[in-house]
Amino acid sequence: MKTIVLFLSCLSFVSSCAVAGRLERVQEAKELRVCIWPDYYGISYRNPRTLQLTGIDVDLARELAKDLGVQVRFVDSSFAKLIADVVQDRCDIAMFAIGITPARAEKLRFTRPHLVSDIYAIATRSNRRIKEWADIDRPGVVVAVAKGTYHEPVMREKLKAASFLVTETPQGREQEVESGRADVFMTDYPFSRRMLETTDWARLIAPTTTYHLTSYAFALQPGDDPWHARVERFVAAIKSDGRLTAAAQRHKLEAIVARD
């Protein structure tokens, strides 16, 4: 009996160590590890010409580290590797506008959303098959999505007539569309901005009505309440003290700031 009690105590101790350890560890190490997707334009984008990280979540990550009084270290990740990176403790937090999907919510613990985005389509400017949103879900139209993004399940579920093409990488969907093998690929608001601003061939096709809103938030390992609470406090802080809005304006994302 005594043994059982001791075990439970240890278990709870370990558990509490693990939970309480995130915040303490961050503070002890004086380092906050933040998972980002460096191709996420406007969110966490590493400019290939300068290798500088820019984006709203990069700014917010730095703000969080500053609030915690620690240094920030960015860890490259992607939507495909997101859960693994977080769960496997390669980072303390994932901050690259992670859409809250049921699948992810099972594995991860999200903060309250700070952005919310609909789904947009990118076609070539000369594509004569797709003129408007309604042209997408038609027979013969090929719709590309990147694997691991929340678009994949959403579009898989939504498309009825169009062919559905899932590329391994985000670059793949662009190549498919540009080479004409796909007509459009689906993306979110920040990425669509990237396409329009960095290529001369892309054409944005926006849904005429709300198509599918997805909330973006920061993702944590599940269960670490103090850490989660701390990050939640941060989210609340940046929403109230204007840091979120200011960061969104810097990166032209004020249209999708999630307001409570």
Partner: protein, 1248 residues
């Protein structure tokens, strides 16, 4: 004239405007055309450049595809390797490998496998494998698996199959197939050329359209008629170029084409011409608009400008006309100007002038043209002129422009004259010019000089004016002359800026004066008033103020005021008014006529008397008053007298206007001017008609009276003679009574004194004392009565002789102090220093008053002091009111006593007479004497507190020549009559001694004679001129004085010799007796030194005996002072009035003592002689000796003895029994001798 000019101008303007407009339109059109051509050209260039770029891009892509196919094809590529090769190749949709049959055996898209590809559709054509890239017909669909070679019905670009044979070695060929993504290129081309701008097409050499950015153009269509295809097909043609064409849709396009060098493609770029020209069109529209606007604006401005030019031209024309007119007028004005106007250029050369210049400077015509201005300037100013011109050029003298300066000008003849110059500067295109306007100011300068002189004159007047002049503004003094300040008593400059209020009598006077004076000035420009003014020291004076406004039209200009101190004038006016009123109100008629006898003034009395009004009388002669009853000689005398400058008096018979005759007492006097010339005559006429009427009545009565008088005169003459006899009888009677009273009285006094001394019974002595006192009192009463009788009869005479007051007082003091000492009193005498010493008056009477008052004071003062104060009560012109106060500390008097004090025969208290003696007449006499000397005596006294008598006497002030004083009368005599010869005739040696002593005092040696006979003998011997004076006793033995005088007068040469009687009789009738006998004067014994000396001065001939002052060493004065030295060695002797005796010997106590001792030695002998003569019945001789004794006793002050001797003499003269008198005398003389012997210790002296 004006209208045609205007029309021509307008025509010209319109033509120019038209030409400009046409030119502008043409130029614009040309430019636009040129711009259009350039635009088209540039579109061609652009199309060519696009074509070139696209060809380059396509060639490069095809090269990559060719290489890719060549590279991967050699190794029998798998599906996966084909997929991998597609990476980063967006222009490819898929890569496939064909087998020899043309079937797809491997593909990046697995769905393509099994699809068969026909080689015949490819270009370049050929069935043999060649290692080149061949181009197939375009396919529709996404890839081979869903596409077809047919022309796509759908509007989609599809893809283009590319075939590549490649030598795998050893004669083996592999065939690779690629589906080229048309969309990639369309996207690229469309990105560069938008659909509305133009279209890009890719054609195969055989004219098949590969794809077109124009969605209307279907790929796979063969364009046989396409000029591009035609050009490319023609091998002789260029592989690139451009041209314009009309497309099937009717649109004009600018086409540039370029064929690929290695691949059977030609790229055509069609740019829409209209689109290309759209910019030009817009630009052209803008340009046309702008130019049109500019042109219109320019035209409008030009029109506006033209209108303004027109207006300006019109104005200019008008201005020119006006200018010409103005020039005409100006020239006329300039030519007619009196001022010289000369213009010079910048070099100073004369360029223009007016005729006045020629007149002023004496040049004519063109002499001045081009000449330097310096010809008009004196040479000594040339240097200044040149430097001035240089400064003007440099702009340094601009301030003198327009200002008036005075300079000197030089005429042609070299004469210089002052000029007033005003410079003006002006500029034209030819340069700068200066115009000088010059005015000859010679006259003005002269006037200024005159004004300056006038101002200096006025300034001098202003400064030296006898009246005050002030310039006032706002009632404050702006400036004033010195006299003005002096009048008000201020220092120089002290009044400047001050308000005139301080000069006014009062603030109210200041306000009142301001109101009416300035109102009057405002009305009439000037104002005058005589007003009371105030000096700085607060004193007031009358001033005459005359003010006038400097400029009546300008109030602020102030006013000029002239002020004169008229206090004196006013006073004179008052005096004058007083005189005028006196004249006007005079009870006598006063009229003033001029030299022509015309009446200029009559007073109201004239009107009353004559009946003529003043107006009627004025301008007429006094002849209107002539009655014709006055003889012409009277008038002749009148005019002669008054023209002779004298006053004429007379009585004129005049008539009134009514014709009524009147008598007028007339006095006419000439009136002289300052030069002594007669200007007018003043007549004073008194109506004496009534008086003359009365007078005539009187005369009538007089005639009656005269008769009566004549009748009565005889009666009166008789009565008068009787009265004269009676008067003489009365005087003789009075003298005799006096003498007779005094003589027995002397006997009573003297004998009672003797009896008292001899008697031993106290009661007897008391009785005798009372008898003696009563006698003395009676004697004094008789003297006073005599004085009083003289006063009452008005016969009291006062001498008017110069005397020294201080000497009189000194002598008086000497006498009275002795008396005071007797009673133990202190006598103090104070003489104010201011009191004059030399006075003129009767010193004896003064002395009488003094002695009386001091005597009274001593008498009524038991102890204490008596103070005599002498001072000046008041000074008059030639007199002085002497104030004498005698204050004692005696018994004093009650008010009642004082009331009766000065009444005769009254003493304050009846007991006084008993206690103190006295008649009670003394003060009464003194008061009368004082009153007769224009003064008075009063007293302040309180009982028991003493009395103070105040005496005021008016005496004449002595002259400097009378500086000889009293002492000085002797001194005067000494100096004058030192060597005079005087014969003293007296039977008594003592008398002779006394007289000789008095003469000796004045330096005269006396010659002595014992009687008249001796005197005649001496005179006979000496001759009539040997002696200057004879002093002769009346009663003498052998020959008395009267007889001797009569006899002497009868002798020749002795008529003029002064003979003075020395007599004990002191009555006026005695002097008459003496004068009857031929004596000149008399002097009564006992005489005092003053009267004796005055007598000497009076009678000794001055001319004969003027003594030189130089030789005078005043021995007599020395003698007097010498003998006067021991003052207090005289003991008191009963019955001797030492005071009187000493006075007779001029205070010489030693001599007095000598004569007292001498008398004591002689008196017993005289008694024996009397006894003997009585025994011999020679009463007359005995009487003579008694007389002698009487005289010597009187001289020595032995009043009692004198009285006893007189009594004896009287008894002997009267033939009465004289034994008793002789006995009395003997007793008295014995007592006296014993007393003297005792007093002077004669026994000791005798023993010696």
């Amino acid at each position: 004239m004006r209208a045609p000019r205007l029309s021509a101008r307008r025509l010209t303007f319109v033509s120019v405007m038209l030409a400009v407009t046409v030119g502008a339109v043409l130029a614009t059109a040309y430019s636009l055309w040129r711009l259009r051509e350039e635009t088209i050209h540039s579109r061609f260039v652009a199309a060519s450049m696009y074509a070139h770029a696209f060809e380059d891009h396509l060639t490069h892509s095809l090269n990559v595809i060719d290489l890719t196919l060549a590279n991967i094809g050699g190794d029998e590529p798998t599906n996966l390797s084909l997929v991998a090769a597609l990476r980063h190749a967006p222009y490819l949709r898929s890569l496939s490998r064909l087998d020899a049959t043309g079937r797809i055996v491997a593909s990046s898209d697995l769905r393509n496998r099994g699809k068969r590809i026909e080689r015949r559709d490819f270009q370049p054509p050929g069935s043999e494998p060649v290692a080149v890239l061949r181009v197939g017909l375009p396919w529709s669909g996404r890839d081979f698996h869903d596409g077809d070679i047919a022309i796509s019905a759908a509007n989609e670009p599809g893809f283009i199959p590319l075939l590549r044979d490649l030598d795998t070695g050893e004669g083996q060929w592999a065939t690779m197939l690629a589906s080229m993504n048309s969309d990639y290129f369309l996207n690229h081309y469309g990105h560069n050329i938008a659909a509305d701008v133009g279209a890009v097409e890719l054609l195969r050499y055989d004219g098949v359209l590969m794809f077109s950015t124009d969605e209307a153009q279907r790929p796979g269509v063969r364009r046989d008629g396409d000029p591009v295809v035609a050009m490319v097909a023609d091998a002789t043609r260029e592989e690139f170029g451009h041209f314009e064409q009309i497309r099937g849709d009717g649109r004009a396009v600018l086409t540039a084409f370029r064929s690929l060098s290695r691949y059977p493609f030609v790229i055509a770029v069609h740019l829409d011409k209209e689109h290309g020209l759209a910019g030009w069109r817009q630009e052209a529209a803008r340009v046309v608009l702008l130019i049109a606007a500019a042109l219109l604006g320019s035209l409008a401005l030009a029109c506006l400008y033209f209108v303004r030019l027109e207006r300006a031209a019109r104005q200019r024309d008008e201005a020119e006309a006006a200018l010409r007119a103005s020039e005409e007028r100006f020239r006329a004005a300039t030519n007619s100007a009196s001022d010289a106007i000369v213009s010079v250029d910048a070099n100073g050369d004369i360029v223009a002038w007016n005729p006045a210049t020629e007149r002023l400077f004496g040049y004519d015509g063109a002499e001045l043209t081009g000449r330097d201005l310096s010809v008009l300037i004196p040479p000594r100013f040339w240097q200044d002129h040149r430097s001035g011109m240089q400064r003007l050029q440099a702009g340094g003298e601009s301030h003198i422009m327009g200002r008036l300066v005075e300079v000197l000008g030089r005429r042609k003849d070299g004469g210089e004259f002052p000029l007033e110059l005003s410079l003006a500067q002006w500029s034209t295109a030819e340069g700068r010019f200066y115009t000088g306007t010059m005015r000859d100011i010679t006259q003005r300068k002269q006037q200024e000089e005159r004004i300056r002189a006038l101002l200096a004159e006025l300034e001098t007047i202003f400064k030296n004016a006898l009246v005050g002049i002030a310039h006032l503004n706002n009632r404050c003094i702006v400036t004033c002359n010195r006299r003005f300040e002096e009048i008000f008593g201020y220092e120089s400059g002290e009044l400047i800026g001050a308000s005139t209020e301080r000069l006014c009598d009062s603030p109210e006077a200041f306000v009142a004066f301001g109101e009416h004076a300035y109102r009057a000035i405002a009305d009439s420009g000037r104002y005058s008033e005589e007003i009371r003014l105030k000096r700085k020291d607060g004193s007031f004076f009358w001033g005459a103020l005359t003010g006038c406004a400097i400029d009546p039209a300008c109030e602020v200009g102030g006013s000029i005021w002239i002020c004169a101190d008229i206090s004196e004038r006013r006073q004179a006016e008052q005096e004058s008014n007083k005189l005028l009123r006196a004249v006007e109100q005079s009870p006598v008629t006063i009229l003033i006529v001029d030299r022509d006898g015309l009446i200029e003034y009559v007073n109201p009395r004239f009107t009353q008397i004559t009946g003529y009004t003043r107006e009627e009388a004025m301008g007429r002669t006094p002849r209107i008053l002539q009655s014709g009853l006055t003889s012409p000689e009277v008038y002749d005398d009148l005019w002669r007298t008054i023209f002779g400058g004298k006053m004429w008096r007379g009585v004129l018979r005049n008539k009134r206007k009514t014709g009524e005759l009147i008598w007028e007492n007339v006095s006419i006097s000439p009136i002289f001017d300052d030069n002594g010339a007669i200007t007018h005559f003043v007549g004073v006429e008194e109506d004496v008609s009534e008086r003359i009427r009365v007078q005539q009545q009187l005369e009538d009565h007089q005639a009656q009276l005269e008769e009566t008088v004549r009748r009565r005169t005889a009666e009166l003459t008789e009565a008068l003679d009787a009265a004269k006899v009676a008067d003489r009888t009365k005087d003789a009677f009075l003298a005799n009574v006096s003498h007779e009273l005094r003589t027995p009285l002397s006997a009573v006094i003297g004998l009672s004194g003797l009896a008292r001394r001899l008697g031993s019974d106290p009661r007897q002595r008391d009785y005798l004392d009372k008898v003696m006192q009563a006698g003395k009192m009676l004697s004094s009463l008789i003297n006073d009565l005599l004085d009083l009788s003289k006063i009452a009869a008005g016969r009291m005479e006062f001498e008017s002789k110069t005397f020294g007051l201080r000497e009189l007082l000194r002598r008086n003091y000497a006498v009275m102090s002795y008396k005071a000492e007797e009673t133990g009193l202190e006598l103090i005498e104070n003489i104010d220093d201011e009191t004059p010493d030399i006075l003129v008056g009767d010193s004896l009477r003064l002395e009488q008053i003094l002695l009386n008052l001091i005597g009274n004071a001593i008498k009524f003062t038991a102890k204490g002091r008596v103070e005599v104060r002498v001072g000046v009560h008041a000074r008059e012109e030639r007199r002085v009111a002497l104030k004498i106060e005698v204050e004692d500390s005696g018994v004093g008097m009650s008010a009642e006593d004082i009331a009766h004090l000065f009444q005769p025969f009254s003493q304050a208290d009846p007991s006084i007479g008993r206690k103190y003696g006295g008649t009670g007449l003394g003060l009464s006499i003194c008061k009368r004497l004082a009153q007769m000397m224009d003064g008075d005596i009063d007293v302040v006294s309180r009982e028991g507190r003493g009395s103070t008598f105040h005496v005021v006497l008016r005496l004449g002030l002595g002259q400097a020549v009378d500086m000889t004083s009293e002492v000085g009368e002797a001194e005067q005599a000494t100096m004058r009559y030192r060597d005079a010869q005087v014969l003293v005739v007296d039977d008594q040696p003592f008398n002779r001694e006394v007289v000789a002593g008095l003469l000796e005092v004045v330096g005269i040696t006396a010659h002595m004679a014992g009687n008249g006979r001796e005197a005649l003998e001496i005179l006979d011997r000496a001759g009539p001129t040997a002696f200057d004076l004879v002093l002769m006793d009346i009663r003498m033995p052998v020959m008395d004085g009267l007889s001797a005088t009569r006899e002497l007068r009868m002798r020749p040469g002795y008529a003029e010799l002064p003979i003075i009687a020395i007599t004990a009789h002191n009555m006026a009738h005695e002097s008459e007796i003496g004068r009857d006998a031929g004596m000149n004067d008399q002097i009564g014994k006992p005489f005092d030194d003053k009267s004796f000396h005055r007598m000497l001065i009076k009678w000794i001939d001055r001319r004969k005996h003027v003594a030189t002052r130089a030789s005078s060493n005043r021995p007599a004065m020395a003698a007097v002072t010498a003998v006067a030295a021991p003052p207090s060695e005289l003991p008191s002797l009963h019955g001797v009035d030492m005071e009187a005796g000493l006075a007779r010997l001029v205070g010489d106590r030693a001599r007095y003592r000598h004569w007292l001792v001498n008398w004591a030695g002689e008196a017993p002998a005289y008694l024996q002689q009397i006894r003997r003569h009585m025994d011999d019945r020679q009463e007359d001789q005995a009487g003579l000796i008694a007389h002698t004794l009487k005289g010597s006793a009187g001289l020595l002050g032995m009043g009692e003895l004198q009285a006893l001797a007189a009594a004896l003499e009287a008894a002997l003269e009267n033939g009465e029994a004289a034994e008793r008198q002789l006995a009395d005398l003997q007793q008295a003389i014995g007592a006296m001798c014993a007393q003297i012997a005792q007093a002077f210790d004669l026994s000791a002296a005798a023993a010696q």
